[in-house]
Symmetry: C2
Subunit: 321 residues, 2 copies
């Protein structure tokens, strides 16, 4: 294994990927409190919601309000997901710093998730870029970045294995259409470390490391952190995770469980990689989450096991929390 | 990441490490049925019990009977743990193929676990080797291997961090005293992948890969499979795991949770590494386990999530289960 030094960016997706997977809706104020608690623990990038039809996902109906509040948190990069041009327009109006567009590699998942063909989803990137580039300067999200997340990049619960050549071809097309970054998502929890290593190596060769948006792993088969190790080896330094492992894709049956932020932070810090996150404050944010979702089941190991005796953060110079 | 091909040996420790951690005792016949089911799923090495005082661990009082029954299973390598000379003598008499001797790197854990100093534990290896070498040829375990597991190699819940130089020095001493193999155990679930990579690299350089007994990881902080990836990278090809994650060390507080065999097999097979284990039959063995321990809590992801659509074993030529 290569020596690991430097910093890793953790992109917290709980307020989007976690909350959209639940049947009940967290009240707007509770969402904002939770996002503030996550940011106070040191997370600098949070995907705060999704600009989708409230008929499909009523849990996300207050996304514009949540974005506006999150923008007030100093130093926080505010992301939101948008499945289409209409959603992206709303995201720019609300003032996201980055919009995340899911594009499925699998045709069947694309239809199920956003009711479009993969070709339509790829073509929409150019429309969204044109929209963004034509926004008046005083639109809050006029300078927003456009990032693609390639869903089902490691396999599909409807189609099974997904050809690796197809993943790389779609990544190249997304960049051609105007995306500024492309990440790979293990939407279904099928990915294994050998495959993760191969695909990120090819992705980096194809589009360049500076345009690799990050890795989104699930822990469906317990393999989430192992996949992080394989991606780190290739040079990937941005990882999605969800507090308490909330979430998973509602349109990928059986694909429960995002990577747990608490466990990811502990592993990276133990390895000597600086995440900027205070683990005890992060565990404390679970209480704020529970205040908005009483009785919700929380996952993860580190919150139960605690920090090892003598644990030290990677960056010894970090200010006390 | 290096290309992964070849085979990996999974050493199932559930009947020893799993059962000794429980308050209740599995009946002897149920243990034997469970071991048979594990072997029928393709596991070729099983640590079936521990030759310790029945006053300390009454769950293990029938170890000689279990070893005798396990020896009847064709192709199975039968291991048992022994904490001292008396236990090793009983193990040889019962006919183990290999005896596993735990030697703590941490002085405090050594006292708590086997009531000896680390120096005494190392010195005992020579006595055990002398005993084995002097056994009459008709002793069932006359040809048994002697393998050391260095406990708390990645940290101690009483002392905190453990110096890496000390781990390597103790491994070298163990070989000098006559051990045929030395493995590293993350008894406390403190280990992280960077540390695992460093320590196995040094261990291999010190004693040679052919004398590395294997890696024993816990999943206390969710990091078990990530640590496997780091050890694989160094060339390690033997891993301990426990069906359903049963176990953890009773003398290392809070260090619950062995690596889950089912999840490990799935990850390795997905990566193209042949374990020889049939995952569905292995999951089926959980029922046999539960027959002996009604209502016991089982851990692991793959048993819940099932195999991915289109999953293929590494060795396509393997006979159907």
């Amino acid at each position: 294994m290569a020596a690991h030094t430097g910093t890793v960016l953790i992109s917290e997706v709980g307020p989007r990927d976690g909350l959209q997977a639940l049947k009940r809706t967290m009240p707007t104020e509770a969402k904002i409190n939770w996002i503030k608690a996550l940011a106070a623990a040191g997370l600098t990038e949070i995907e705060v919601g999704s600009f989708v039809s409230p008929k499909l996902l009523p849990q996300m109906a207050d996304c514009a309000q949540v974005v506006a509040a999150a923008r007030e948190i100093p130093g926080l990069t505010v992301l939101a997901l948008a499945p289409n041009l209409k959603g992206a327009a709303a995201a720019f109006d609300a003032g996201v710093h980055k919009v995340s567009l899911p594009v499925s590699v699998s045709e069947s998942h694309s239809k199920a998730n956003i009711n479009r063909t993969t070709e339509q989803a790829i073509a929409a990137i150019a429309d969204i870029k044109a929209l963004r580039d034509g926004l008046p300067d005083d639109t809050p999200g006029a300078k927003a970045g456009i990032e693609i997340g390639l869903s089902t990049a490691f396999g599909c619960t409807i189609e099974g294995p997904v050809p690796e050549d197809r993943v790389i071809r779609m990544a190249a097309l997304a960049i051609e259409m105007g995306a500024e970054a492309v990440g790979l998502s293990d939407t279904t929890g099928y990915g294994n470390p050998a495959q993760v290593g191969r695909l990120f190596r090819r992705l980096i060769a194809e589009i360049g490391l500076d345009r690799v948006g990050g890795a989104h792993f699930h822990n469906t088969r317990g393999q989430g952190l192992a996949n992080v190790i394989a991606a780190l080896e290739q040079g990937v330094t941005t990882f999605d995770a969800s507090q308490a492992g909330l979430g998973g894709c509602p349109y990928a049956p059986g694909a429960t469980g995002n990577l747990v932020t608490e466990d990811l932070v502990w592993m990276l810090e133990s390895m000597g990689l600086d995440t900027g996150v205070d683990i005890e404050r992060l565990i404390g944010a679970r209480e704020v989450l529970l205040a908005g979702l009483p009785g919700e089941t929380l996952y993860g190991h580190v919150a139960d096991a605690g920090l090892p005796l003598g644990f030290e953060y990677a960056n010894q110079a970090r200010p006390a929390a």
